[in-house]
Symmetry: C2
Subunit: 124 residues, 2 copies
Amino acid sequence: MARNTGQKDAVRRVMKAAKRPLNPQEVLERALADIPGMGIATVYRHLKSLNETGWLVCVDLPGEGTRFELASIAHHHHFKCDTCERVFDVPGCAQDVEGLAPDGFVVDRHEVLLFGVCPDCSTP
Amino acid sequence: MARNTGQKDAVRRVMKAAKRPLNPQEVLERALADIPGMGIATVYRHLKSLNETGWLVCVDLPGEGTRFELASIAHHHHFKCDTCERVFDVPGCAQDVEGLAPDGFVVDRHEVLLFGVCPDCSTP
DNA sequence: GTGGATGCAAACTCTTTGCACCTTG
DNA sequence: CAAGGTGCAAAGAGTTTGCATCCAC
């Protein structure tokens, strides 16, 4: 996937514009505005290659497929609303998270997921 | 799933004996020792109902299917070894994790995942 | 005896892959 | 023009469901 094509540009544009992690289906829906007729397989192929080059990172949440977001955004975590199912970025990081591991475990990465109700859903 | 059957007992026994989160396939393999001929669908059905009653909780990790473990064990988190792929329980919890959420978000649950190398894999 | 539980196989969902055709460089 | 990218459809993996049969109560 080294060649520059309209499809690849569309995926990059969609991911840059996203304010939250997107799944392949959401990426396709947004990319279709630029490239009518684009196929889901092409989305998967580009997400995979952009992830392998380190431009995108995976965001996995319980009970749903993999989402992706830009690798370049600052260290942060995620909040999933139990009501509307949307996923939000949460800036910052708890202290001492990696210190939790028992002696002998070497931690080089961590992920924090919060679950609850987002502002939109808690004030009807 | 309110009736007491050998299959249900087998799933409960397997889960109680497990020292780490198990996926449905692992549960079936262990249950087959007690109930030869048991089907994977029955495992899924019992895992689902035991989860709905709150006896089991889901443990989702990036890049793999859902695992389950007893809900009764103390609040803890998980460590996945990038080398041997095993998943370990990590006792305790970081301070202020739920305080990360921006104003307006109501947090009622959280999950922390650590990734790195376990003691077995770091001392060859 | 009766309704819930089970095993099997088919259905479903999500993701990947094979292939003929099209596009970029 | 050649190498690589694309869309479609089929193939896979994991999970759920329909149904006839079986078993706990």
